[in-house]
């Protein structure tokens, strides 16, 4: 059966379960005897096993199954949780994640068996058994490969139907005899199900339904309850009492059910019942192995032909399947639906108004009312759609506690991570991409920020260092702060390094403010780690963080106090698709500037423009701000003589200010950002375009490029 349509759901849910496992194992480490946590882990492992099995990922299934077994033992108190076990469990999680990554990229789980991990898990199980526990069901060895290897040439020949070897209980025999005595025919039938089949019980049910057209099933094997619970391999048998004399009819009806590979059977008579099979206890022992054998041989044999066709299928579609989806709360969709229906009502009332007033059209007042109504609806509609794109940052940040735990071990420093505001919502695109920069900042804090326990003790700080990740919304921005109570940034060391690297001269360094020095950390290839560790400090540090965050339309700032710690503040826009913008005009062209980056708007007399290093600047309340003439950058024609007064839009990036000279100002407007397409190559200063109310287009200026 083709399961590719379920892949996306599988990937989504597996990630959730992995996260749940990770959280709970962390919790378990702190409180090894909390049974609720153990149960949670057991359930998550169990779900994972089930899902992996359904999707046919045998290796993943095997691993999770073994994990489940271990927790079964923990639940029954036969195995104690210790830190070595926690380590193994985390390794298992990583392995499962590895499988998941393979699935995402290739639709396949890959070939890593992770035998070492399974082995170490099994060691715990064995320990439990040796500890005098009741015999424990051995973890099922990877079922599929085992079976397939069992399929040999002679197995294919063995086509003896499984029903022939069934041990019948006395009452079952009686039932068959009763039917025979009543003049009915009794057929023993074995049906073989396709090995790829997922809903075996449902198929069995359909087979029963089909054959019950002909008569009554008097004996099920395995029992009907077992069949319902799918407690059977790939075949099942039953005895049918019927008046139908043509067995082929019955067999064909059963075969018509999809995914039934073959149906074997034949008439049963008194001789069959009294043939002695299973009657005497001693012969029962002999036949017991035989019961299973033909069945398991015949089933793969029958399924083999199909399976060989199916094995090629996964190989051909090895394309990545990771979808870009958002899970939407049904309430959000409901409100969206409501607003759309309101929109339709508004349209209808406009239509009826324009029809009703006998050709005179809408009066001014009616029109205004309707427009206001429409405006209200579109604004709320827009808000709702934006909310649909918003997801909590939780999905990204909740992998960090685990990371800090690992770092704590690796660096041999005591530290804890405190997170707040995980439910802060951001646009899905931003949430997806903010993970790496945040991870980098946290590693940075753990590696460079926090001191070793001895140093902390000397300084009178608690031995365990604290790293905080606080997220909250602030106006149209989301702020995420990563702070630590460690050493802070040693500006003197940074200065020395900068001089050594030739970034600045010693003289320049003397005149730099603390802030300017700290900002140098964000320059490319400026790693402060004294030793290069694999945690941070490969020279691809903060500059990458900075550019990643800026690519998302955000910015990052640092505050630090030597000896007390440092705080990185990441500021991100709520959404990328729609921004508040100020419309400006340059000559007769309209441009939009993101409102978030605008500091102030000033009227400046031409005579106030000064020159520094042949560049135009103004001195605005004591701050020297460079001036950029947009008409020149944008190659506007015709040239225009300066008015006596210039309108200057002061924009900010970080703490740099630049003044943009524009001809006139339009209003503030909410604009939808659209791409200009791939054909046209344009200056980086243009970040996109937007459609205006009159159908015209305004280009959006990215002021970050100007600085």
């Amino acid at each position: 059966m083709d399961v590719s349509q379920y892949l996306e759901i599988f990937i989504d849910e597996t990630s959730e379960h992995i996260q749940a496992l990770s959280d709970n194992i962390m919790a378990l480490e702190k409180e090894p005897h909390d049974m609720d946590t153990v149960n949670e882990i057991f359930r998550a492992a169990h779900s994972l096993k089930g899902m992996a099995g359904t999707m046919g990922f045998k290796r993943m299934q095997h691993l999770t199954h073994t994990m489940e077994d271990v927790f079964q033992e923990v639940r029954s108190d036969k195995v104690q949780v210790n830190s070595a076990m926690i380590d193994i469990l985390f390794k298992c999680l990583d392995a499962i994640e590895g499988y998941l990554d393979n699935v995402k990229n290739t639709s396949n789980e890959g070939t890593d068996d992770n035998e070492a991990l399974v082995k170490s898990l099994e060691d715990y199980l064995n320990a439990a058994e040796n500890g005098g526990a009741a015999p424990e069901e051995k973890p099922a060895a990877a079922p599929a490969p085992a079976e397939e290897s069992a399929v040999s040439a002679d197995a294919a020949e063995s086509q003896e139907a499984a029903y022939l070897s069934i041990e019948l209980a006395d009452e079952e025999k009686d039932a068959i005899r009763a039917s025979l005595n009543a003049g009915q025919k009794v057929y023993g039938i074995t049906a073989y199900i396709d090995k790829e089949c997922l809903l075996k019980a449902a198929r069995a049910f359909l087979v029963f339904k089909a054959v019950e057209e002909f008569g009554q099933i008097i004996v099920f094997h395995p029992s009907s309850q077992d069949i319902e619970d799918e407690h059977f391999e790939f075949d099942f048998s039953f005895f049918l009492a019927t008046a139908e004399t043509d067995f082929d009819k019955i067999a064909n009806a059963a075969k018509a059910v999809t995914e039934i590979v073959d149906v074997l059977g034949g008439e049963v008579d008194e001789a069959f019942l009294s043939s002695g099979k299973a009657d005497e206890p001693e012969s029962a022992e002999e036949t017991a192995p035989a019961v299973a054998e033909p069945a398991s041989q015949a089933a793969p044999a029958a399924a083999e032909t199909k399976a060989s066709g199916a094995t090629n299928a996964p190989a051909t579609k090895n394309k990545p399947v990771a979808g870009r989806t958002v899970r939407v709360d049904i309430e959000k969709l409901d409100s969206l639906m409501n607003q759309v229906s309101e929109l339709i009502i508004a349209k209808n009332s406009l239509v009826s108004l324009s029809n009703s007033t006998d050709g005179k059209g809408l009066t001014q007042q009616e029109a205004t009312e309707q427009i206001e109504y429409l405006e209200r609806i579109t604004t709320t509609l827009h808000e709702s759609v934006m909310k649909v794109r918003m997801v909590p940052i939780e999905s990204t940040v909740n992998k960090f506690p685990r990371m800090i735990r690992d770092l704590s071990r690796k660096l041999d420093k005591k530290m804890e991570l405190i997170m707040t505001g995980e439910d802060t919502e951001l646009d899905r695109t931003v949430v997806d991409q903010i993970g790496d920069p945040l991870q980098h900042l946290l590693r940075n804090s753990a590696d460079h920020g926090l001191e070793s326990a001895e140093v902390r003790r000397e300084r009178g700080k608690p031995e365990t260092g604290t790293i905080r990740l606080d997220a909250y919304q602030e106006g149209n921005n989301v702020v995420i702060e990563v702070s630590d109570d460690g050493n802070g940034i040693d500006t003197e060391a940074v200065k020395a390094k900068a001089i050594e690297r030739g970034v600045v001269t010693a003289d320049q360094a003397e005149t730099m403010s603390q802030k300017e020095i700290i900002d140098m950390l964000f320059m490319p290839s400026f790693s402060m780690a004294k030793q290069i560790t694999d945690i941070s400090g490969r020279g691809v540090g903060l500059d990458v963080v900075k550019s990643n965050i800026e690519a998302l339309g955000g910015d990052v700032e640092v505050k630090s106090k030597l000896g007390e710690g440092s705080k990185f503040t990441v500021r991100l826009p709520l959404t990328l698709a729609i921004i508040q913008a100020l419309m400006v005009e340059v000559r007769d062209e309209k441009y939009a500037i993101a409102l978030a980056s605008i500091e102030t708007i000033e009227n400046i007399s031409v005579t106030d423009i000064k020159y520094v290093e042949a560049k135009e600047v103004i001195n605005l309340r004591g701050v020297v701000i460079p001036i950029i003439r947009l008409d020149q950058i944008l190659e506007c024609t015709p040239e225009k003589e300066d008015d006596d007064n210039l309108t200057v839009v002061i924009v900010r990036k970080g703490d740099k200010l630049v003044g943009l000279v524009v001809d006139s100002l339009g209003g503030q407007q909410e604009i939808v950002i659209k791409s200009l397409g791939k054909y046209i190559s344009y200056n980086k200063i243009i970040s996109g375009a937007t459609v205006l109310g009159d159908g015209g287009i305004a280009l959006i200026l990215d002021v970050n490029v100007l600085m």
Binding site: E589, K674, S675, L676, A689
Partner: protein
């Protein structure tokens, strides 16, 4: 599929447009839409032959002056001028300004001659066939070259 790969009897439809004084054919399969001239917003520092972008029902479409692209003399925008919106796989829409859209013709393989490659003018590098329709000759555009060269430009 280019015209040269066609079978003898496959027929292709071409939209015949006038650019300067010549007739050109555009394979109808690559045409998304034909619209009247509308306001085009200049994009600063774009390639010289791009007139800018226009708004096609909310989608921003870059518009190219095919005259300048082919190094012909720019002609006046008249009532007959049209923007032919081409849909090129994966890269989205692209508009080209033509002087007139006259008709749709059906050409079979027999009626298409290979282009005259002697000439080295830019204009001819966009042509991948000459269609004979009645007494007329129609130069057939190779849409991909308009874009390909543009991408490397």
């Amino acid at each position: 599929m280019t015209e040269l790969e066609m079978n003898e009897d496959t027929a292709m439809q071409y939209i015949v447009v006038k650019i300067g004084s010549e007739q050109y054919g555009i394979n109808i399969a690559s045409v998304d839409n034909i619209i009247r001239m509308q306001k085009i917003t200049r994009v600063p520092t774009a390639q010289f032959y791009f007139k800018g972008v226009l708004n096609l029902r909310g989608v921003i479409v870059p518009v190219m002056s095919i005259h300048q692209r082919m190094e012909l003399e720019e002609s006046e925008i008249t009532d007959k001028s049209r923007v032919v919106i081409l849909r090129i796989e994966e890269n989205g829409l692209l508009g080209i300004i033509v002087d007139e859209v006259s008709e749709v013709v059906t050409l079979t393989r027999n009626e298409i001659d290979p282009p005259n490659r002697d000439s080295r003018s830019t204009k001819d590098s966009f042509i991948n066939g000459i269609g004979k329709n009645g007494g007329r000759l129609i130069s057939l555009f190779d849409i991909t070259t308009i874009v390909d060269q543009e991408e490397t430009a």
